[in-house]
């Protein structure tokens, strides 16, 4: 920052200052320094650790450089020096020191000192140098920024069958550890089903796998699961975590409008994973899909939808200041791109050069220019008017488009007639109540009439709001998508990120981190060039992008990423626990055409992945956290896997794919009834399809429970980029398992299915079926006996019930216990 500002502060000042810098006739030390020490350094010095307003005053250059308000000291010109303005207390917004005005004599001394050229010894300001060169030097050695070369597979003593495991084995041998053996076949089946599809295997699927004694049994299962559409639903959700996907804007309650078309992006992501779209292509489409060539309308649609990625963040529409709002929006985009693709905290460079990573503010504003030249948010529309982010009509057959538009117009006309009609109905209903009351009709009849009034009232309210909603219901398919501004612009560096403090204007470009820059033609935003740079492993950031993604894939499969700060690969991030393995995976990923499925497959087929989670006292003593992977990492199922598995086991899961699940559109916060879904149906769909409403409170019971459940089990925050979720244990989780309607309903549905199964001859058989469904293994005889005892000892509710009710109740209780136990909730 100092370097940066110094460079854009008039060079003249520095030149003039330098001569006086080394000289000190004693005036400074004797007269000026004590004033500074007493009144200023508390907030403006390295010694105090504070630089309020961005200003440090313990060196002459610090004062010349200045802070938020610009240079504080103009040697030779007291009137232009902010220091003097401040101590004079003339300007009510700039009065220093804040605790009280200096004595006139002290002010006079400062004026005199500055008038004489502000001579000061070059002694102070001895804090460590903020040195971009030093940072660059560190960065040059930083592991994540190195060219991506495939490391040689290490030679190991006990040789596993695959390369991945050899890299792991090498570390284990170094530590003198031996891995445990392979997992039980049923354990492995359950692991694979959950890891690849997010759903539990059916008992017959487990048995089929166990019965397959061929050498390629695992391979066949892996390939089968990779080909299932549930793969995309599972792995697409991971991507939605890092894309901070949501179906409403959030961004402050007054701008929490539904993202009406976000679902198209969600479906795009799911099918990209299912089709195994090369990851470099996937990245490119999300940054610049609108600028890519296309051969079919379908492709064009897909590519437009992909750019929705850029618009999904929370946008603070309420911000009164347009320029600030616009720059905040760009900032959100850059911050997300940084964390999502590069694992870098680019956002840090908005206010100053990044303190740890080689990202000068200049680079930030080079990138900012690209997005300032991209149409993302609208200025003209009032922010309460609904959708104010960029959206485009998707290309469809022109004839169809015409028909749809005509139908829409007709509907709009029709709606206008609704209100008077509803009002007439209401009036009549009211009249009837009055009549009945006058007649002193019986209470029941009056109550019925009153219900009719309420119904009519709701109709009026609805008719009232509907025309307001309808205009944002689209006549033709639309997508959240960006486009280039007609006149691309280069952005100004904003000093300390303050929109009004414009510094140098910098050309659009990319991070200088890898030594290459790009030339953006004058008539385009530069997104396409940026996208190409992102996925270029040699000249661009591809090496980093590949490492970040390979690390996440590994993390999802193994339960722990190699770099434990998956969204921060910068100098403050964690070091890889096995750098050679990470580079192997990343290089392999690129080499295999950025194929996610191939990488997942290779990991799934490795010995490391297929290890048991068994204990090994010696290994545990040396490596209690299992960093070296001597065994499989046991982990709790994540939020959606728990929910989806509950629904799958109770056979309530609605397997419908894709589409919008928002039943109403509009402001989530002002009109929460707009998204109050009265039917549970969307809430039995896979979690990935639930309406992901930011900041919503008080939705209907189903929505509230579903969202509450996800939150409780560490689902990704809908506002933030989340490369790896937390896994915490809070008592609310247990409360959910004990008391939630969702849990009770699924337990009951499961119990009912078991009881309805006439094929099962006895309760013992039903119990075995229950355990198999929940745990993917046969029950032991002790378990069966315990369950039978439990049912026998069950005391029903106080209310008198039929035997049938009683039986269902006891089975529900049993099923709930099994579904609430660790063996169901954990993957081992």
């Amino acid at each position: 920052m100092r370097i940066l500002v110094a460079s854009i502060t008039a060079g003249l000042l520095l030149a003039r200052g330098r001569a006086a810098e080394s000289k000190d006739d004693g005036f400074f030390t004797k007269e000026v320094l004590p004033i500074f020490q007493r009144h200023c350094y508390e907030c403006h010095s390295h010694a105090s650790g504070k630089a309020k307003g961005g200003l440090v005053m313990d060196s002459r250059s610090g004062m010349v450089t200045g802070g938020d308000l610009g240079t504080a000291l103009v040697p030779g010109d007291p009137e232009k020096s902010l220091i003097i303005q401040a101590v004079r207390y003339g300007n009510k917004d700039l009065q220093m020191p804040p605790k009280g005005k200096l004595e006139e004599k002290q002010i006079a001394l400062l004026v005199e000192w500055i008038k004489n050229g502000a001579p000061a010894p070059d002694q102070s300001g001895t804090g460590p140098k903020h040195d971009l060169a030093a940072i660059k030097e560190n960065a040059a050695k930083h592991w994540a920024f190195q060219p991506l070369l495939k490391p040689r597979v290490p030679a190991v003593k006990s040789d596993p069958t695959d390369d991945i495991s050899r890299f792991v084995q090498a570390k284990l041998e170094q530590a003198g550890l031996e891995p445990v053996g392979s997992a039980d076949r049923r354990v492995l089946a359950r692991r694979l089903y959950f890891d690849l599809t997010g759903l539990p295997p059916k008992p017959e699927e487990v048995e089929a796998f166990v019965a397959d004694h061929s050498a390629r049994a695992v391979e066949k299962l892996v390939d089968k699961l990779l080909a299932r559409p549930e793969f995309g639903e599972r792995w697409g959700r991971f991507w939605l975590d890092v894309a901070r996907y949501a179906d409403s804007n959030g961004g402050g309650s007054e701008s929490n409008n539904t993202h009406d078309e976000a679902w198209r992006y969600r479906d795009y992501v799911i099918s990209a994973f299912n089709e195994n779209k090369p990851f470099d292509r996937f990245v490119t489409e999300q940054i610049a899909g609108d600028l890519l060539e296309w051969v079919s309308e379908e492709q064009r649609r897909e590519q437009l939808i992909a750019t929705g990625f850029l618009l999904l963040g929370p946008k603070a529409f309420g911000t009164g200041d347009w320029e600030l709002f616009r720059l905040d929006t760009v900032d959100e985009q850059l911050d997300t791109i940084g964390k999502t693709f590069l694992g870098l905290t680019i956002g840090c460079a908005r206010c100053h050069d990044h303190k740890f990573d080689p990202i000068p503010a200049r680079d930030y504003y080079k990138l900012a220019g690209v997005f300032s030249s991209t149409f993302s948010v609208e200025k003209s529309k009032g922010w309460r008017q609904g959708r104010t982010w960029s959206h485009v009509e998707l290309p469809i057959d022109p004839e169809l488009s015409k028909t749809l538009k005509a139908a829409y117009k007709e509907r709009l006309e029709h709606v206008k007639e609704e209100k008077p009609k509803a009002e007439r109905e209401l009036e009549e209903a009211r009249k009837r109540v009055n009549e009945l009351k006058e007649k002193k009709a019986d209470a029941k009849e009056i109550a019925e009439a009153e219900t009719a009034v309420q119904a009519a009232q709701r109709k009026v309210e609805f008719a009232d709001s509907y025309p307001k909603v309808l205009p944002i219901v689209d006549p033709v398919p639309m997508a959240m998508a960006v486009r280039d501004e007609e006149k691309p612009v280069d952005e100004f560096i904003r000093i300390r990120g303050v929109p009004k403090s414009k510094g140098e204007q910098v050309p659009r470009g990319v991070l200088s981190l890898f030594g290459t820059d790009l030339t953006v033609p004058g008539n385009v935003s530069g997104r396409l060039q940026l996208a190409q740079w992102l996925v270029d492993p040699d000249q661009g950031a591809g090496r980093l992008v590949a490492r970040v993604m390979a690390n996440r894939i590994w993390g999802h499969m193994i339960g722990r990423p190699i770099v434990e700060s998956p969204d921060n690969f910068g100098l403050t991030g964690q070091k890889p626990s096995n750098p050679e393995l990470l580079d192997y995976l990343a290089a392999q990923f690129v080499e295999e055409g950025w194929s996610i499925k191939r990488l997942v497959r290779e990991i799934a087929l490795s010995e490391v992945y297929q290890r048991a989670s068994a204990d090994h006292a010696l290994a545990r003593a040396t490596d209690p956290d299992n960093v070296l992977l001597w065994r499989h990492q046991v982990r709790r199922l994540d939020a959606e896997a728990i929910r989806d598995a509950l629904l799958a086991i109770s056979q309530q899961l609605d397997r419908k794919r894709g589409g919008s699940t928002l039943q109403q559109q509009g402001l989530v916060s002002f009109k929460s009834d707009f998204v109050t879904l009265e039917t549970p149906s969307p809430y039995y769909r896979r979690t990935v399809y639930l309406p992901m409403l930011r900041d919503a409170i008080g939705l209907n019971q189903y929505a509230d429970e579903a969202m509450g459940m996800l939150e409780t089990f560490d689902f990704a925050d809908l506002n933030l980029v989340t490369g790896a979720r937390n896994s915490t244990t809070v008592p609310t989780q247990a409360l959910f398992l004990m008391n939630s309607t969702l849990m009770r309903d699924q337990a009951r549905a499961f119990a009912r299915k078991l009881l309805e199964n006439t094929g099962a001859g006895s309760d013992a058989e039903r119990i075995r079926e229950m355990f198999y469904n929940a745990y993917a293994r046969p029950a032991t005889s002790e378990e069966v006996q315990r369950a039978i005892n439990y049912l026998a000892g069950f005391t029903g509710s106080d209310a008198v019930r039929s035997d049938q009710d009683y039986r269902l109740e006891s089975w529900t209780s049993l099923c709930q216990a099994v579904l609430g136990s660790n063996e169901f909730l954990f993957l081992n």
Partner: protein
């Protein structure tokens, strides 16, 4: 962030962990709630960084922006100039306050006639009349008040406090927000990137009457206590067998423990919501027995109970202070709902010796304009981010204090201005937390509640 050349070692989280009792940070991520084994419970109480005066906070949030010149900041000049144009641009006239102010207590702090009960506690109250915030629209200003940021997603004050101090009660969450407003959303009590245990637990929401508001999943309509106990025993025996078959895993142990904790919670927590064992005299004191105070009274009593139980941060959310119109008739109604309950809360806390270490905070997200919106009976006041009043009581806040000053019209703070960041710094200070050192490392950066801002307002400390 400081613009220093390299991270000051005093500011890095790692160094901080070494030097403070707050050494749980990332441990909390693997968090085990029970104090089992070697793991430290992220909710277990922790020593503050220094001796704070307050141990907990009760935040009486008044959504909408209560009018400072009608409640806490009398402006004779404004009354004199009533009717004169005060806002040239919008052609709006000054609107004097029709409400009388009187000096109260030994300190002589001035309070409007609309708050007669509160006035009896004048000497306990510490007014900051020179509050300022970043935005004059509700959503951004309320985010700013609750999280320190008007635009970005940041943890709520209550989450930071729980992160810093843990909780003194294992059967209740550390941060409870009573009837949060649906229109404002969950971000006001969100833990954002802080550990999940720090998130605010809502008690109902504003669409549910206070009587019915409770904590999610706390009760089971279908199984009685004994059935659940038996069921839990089955769950735990399944868990122990599974544990024996597989490896030692702290997370699994955590869930086993948390079942027991949850069971205790659901056994104990409901009694906090059952006011039937409160003495009549107490219910009466709060106004729980009559309109229009019953609703707010109940929430104040809940807050007192939670405070007594050791909950760290309790918030009550009250809406309706957004008087764009008919303020002369609207404001008295709002005051009538909360005045007696709040005064009773202060009294009750005092009687129990809790006021000393409970910081009670009253305020909205911004204030209102000196000029009128609309005319005659319909007149109201617009939003104002440049001046508003909040008050604190107990917990080390200086009683009978009036800090800061607005201009002659109450339109803008002019002396000893206190930004929301300063208020946050002060709240943390009263709790024994240094706002510059209470940091959390997220995505490569050390975040704090006050970002790069904030000064403790020393003048309001007792």
């Amino acid at each position: 962030m400081l613009m220093f050349n390299r991270p000051n070692p005093n500011f890095t989280r790692r160094a901080f962990l070494k030097h403070s009792a707050l050494g749980f940070g990332s441990l909390a991520l693997a968090g085990l709630c029970a104090q089992a084994g070697t793991a430290v419970s992220p909710l277990s109480p922790r020593m503050p960084q220094f001796n704070g005066r307050a141990k907990r906070v009760i935040f009486l949030y008044m959504w909408g922006g209560p009018s400072q010149m009608d409640l806490f900041d009398p402006k004779p000049r404004l009354n004199q100039d009533h009717g004169k144009i005060g806002d040239e641009r919008r052609k709006r006239a000054y609107k004097g306050s029709p409400f009388k102010f009187k000096k109260h207590g030994q300190s002589g702090v001035e309070i409007s006639e609309l708050l007669p009960h509160l006035s009896l506690h004048a000497d306990d109250l510490c007014f900051i009349r020179s509050m300022q915030t970043d935005s004059a629209n509700h959503s951004n200003a309320s985010l700013c008040l609750h999280t320190g940021s008007a635009n970005f997603v940041r943890p709520s004050v209550g989450s930071w406090v729980v992160y810093g101090l843990g909780s003194e009660n294992e059967s209740l969450p550390g941060f409870i927000t009573i009837r949060p407003m649906r229109s404002l959303g969950s971000r006001l009590h969100s833990n954002a990137f802080l550990p999940t245990v720090c998130q605010g637990t809502p008690v109902g929401h504003d669409g549910i009457p206070a009587k019915k508001a409770t904590i999610r999943y706390l009760s089971n309509a279908e199984q009685n206590f004994q059935q659940q106990r038996t069921q839990l025993e089955l769950v735990q025996s399944l868990n122990h067998e599974f544990q024996a078959r597989t490896a030692v895993n702290p997370e699994m142990e955590g869930l086993i423990e948390s079942y027991e904790l949850a069971f205790r919670m659901q056994a104990e927590a409901p009694r906090y919501f059952d006011l039937s064992n409160e003495p009549q005299s107490i219910l009466k004191m709060y106004g729980a027995d009559k309109e229009p105070t019953a609703e707010y009274a109940r929430q104040c009593i809940l807050a007192r109970r939670f405070a007594e139980a050791g909950v760290r941060f309790i918030q009550i959310n009250q809406s309706g202070w957004d008087h764009h119109g008919s303020i002369d008739t609207g404001l008295p109604q709002n005051c009538a709902q909360v005045d007696q309950p709040i005064a009773a809360l202060l009294e009750d806390l005092k009687i129990r010796g809790l006021l000393e270490d409970t910081l009670v905070l009253f305020g909205g997200e911004f204030g209102r304009t000196a000029t009128a919106e609309g005319e005659g009976d319909k007149a109201g006041r617009d939003h104002n981010a440049d001046a508003f009043t909040i008050w604190m009581a107990g917990g080390g806040a200086k009683g009978g204090c009036m800090h800061g000053m607005t201009d002659d019209y109450g339109a803008s703070a002019v002396q000893d201005r206190v930004h929301v960041h300063d208020l946050h710094a002060t709240i943390l200070h009263l709790l024994g937390l240094n706002h510059e050192k209470l940091t959390y490392r997220y995505a490569g950066r050390d975040f704090r509640l006050t970002d790069v801002y904030g000064n403790v307002v020393n003048e309001v400390l007792a």
